[in-house]
């Protein structure tokens, strides 16, 4: 079990300011293809600043990518 440090989260919001709500869900098969690393992990620490969220993840299982 290892810690995956500082995962920077980028979420691009819709350009429309009147928009409110989730407008689409992705399918996990597509996400699996798109992702470089897929892990089961627990968030140890999280913080946000300058509209960026950072996470420390404790990885317990690796489904795709480098074994952590």
């Amino acid at each position: 079990m290892k810690t995956l440090k500082i995962v920077t989260l980028g979420l691009f919001l819709t350009a429309s300011w009147v928009f409110c709500g989730v407008f689409a869900s992705y399918s996990v098969g597509g996400l699996l293809t798109q992702a470089d690393q897929v892990v089961v992990a627990t968030v140890r620490n999280s913080s946000s600043s300058a509209q960026t969220l950072s996470l420390d993840l404790i990885v317990s299982r690796t489904l795709k990518g480098m074994r952590l």
Partner: protein
């Protein structure tokens, strides 16, 4: 430049366990969330139980990524702490592109003594077009099930696509007035999209239904049969329609009687009457 949603609170994430999809970006990793738009912490990852995987869902380290993913979803669906979230994601079609590879996992869930888990398995099988799952649902005492379970079943029936005679007959049963309106509407929608020969008598009867939406779906189903539209799963429909050429029954007056919903509601009887006449003229159809 990256931005976080205003509805995400960093402190809410500490201690949460989940399955994270990460993409390399420069020297770091970026989370690929499950949803797009103004999302919350819950939409960043797939919730899975902490600790070791439940028996029946463990996997070999050398297994394919997709196999591991399916097993993780199965374990999460069976765990009481994550089952609700997995059920919500299933309804939102987040697992739709796993395809028939997920059938064994859904089969395992149907054996669960917990009603919600069993229902999730059955709903998954129905979405993938398994007639036996539809029949199991019909033969269960649906009225006695919690409303959220009934709703889950209804959603899955909407996605059922299989011309199998037993499955179509089961959809016919679900049109009964004893079922929730949402179940009847979804059974009609499935019949509309299956639009095989066997569905026609059922769709014809639905032209007189009390629900305007059901009457509309009945018209569209009959029209799709007559025009010769291919039967396709929800995710394949766009491609199927793009490569489509009308069938041998097609006549040029059919398209003007294949209405958008708003046009249908403005002049229902014109469309209903047209397709009743067409069915009467094509008894062998």
């Amino acid at each position: 430049m990256v931005q976080t949603s205003s509805t995400i609170t960093a402190s809410h994430l500490a201690g949460r366990t989940g399955l994270w999809f990460l993409q390399q970006s420069g020297t770091g990793l970026v989370v690929l969330p499950l949803m797009a738009g103004d999302i919350s912490e819950n939409d960043l990852y797939l919730p899975v139980p902490s600790g070791t995987l439940a028996p029946g869902f463990s996997y070999d380290i050398s297994a394919a990524s997709k196999t591991k993913l399916i097993q993780e979803i199965g374990a999460a669906a069976q765990d009481t702490t994550t089952a609700g979230a997995i059920s919500r994601l299933a309804t939102m079609r987040v697992f739709a592109d796993l395809g028939s590879d997920a059938l064994p996992m859904f089969g395992q869930l149907t054996a669960s003594p917990q009603t919600a888990t069993m229902a999730m398995g059955l709903a998954g099988q129905i979405r993938l077009g398994l007639p036996s799952a539809l029949n199991t649902m019909v033969n269960s005492n649906m009225g006695a099930l919690p409303p959220d379970v009934q709703s889950q079943f209804a959603n899955s029936v909407c996605e059922y696509r299989n011309t199998d005679a037993g499955g179509v007959a089961a959809l016919g049963v679900l049109l009964g007035l004893q079922y929730l309106d949402s179940v009847r509407a979804c059974a009609t929608h499935a019949l509309r999209e299956i639009h095989s020969q066997q569905t026609l008598p059922l769709l014809e009867k639905l032209l007189e239904d009390k629900s305007p939406t059901i009457r509309y779906d009945a018209v569209i189903g009959i029209a799709q049969f007559a025009i010769g539209f291919p039967v396709a799963r929800m995710e394949d429909k766009k491609a199927a329609v793009a490569g489509f050429t009308p069938g041998p029954n097609f006549t040029s007056d059919m398209y003007p009687h294949y209405p958008a919903m708003d046009l249908f509601f403005k002049n229902e009887q014109e469309y209903i009457s047209y397709w009743k006449t067409w069915l009467a003229a094509h008894p062998a159809q």
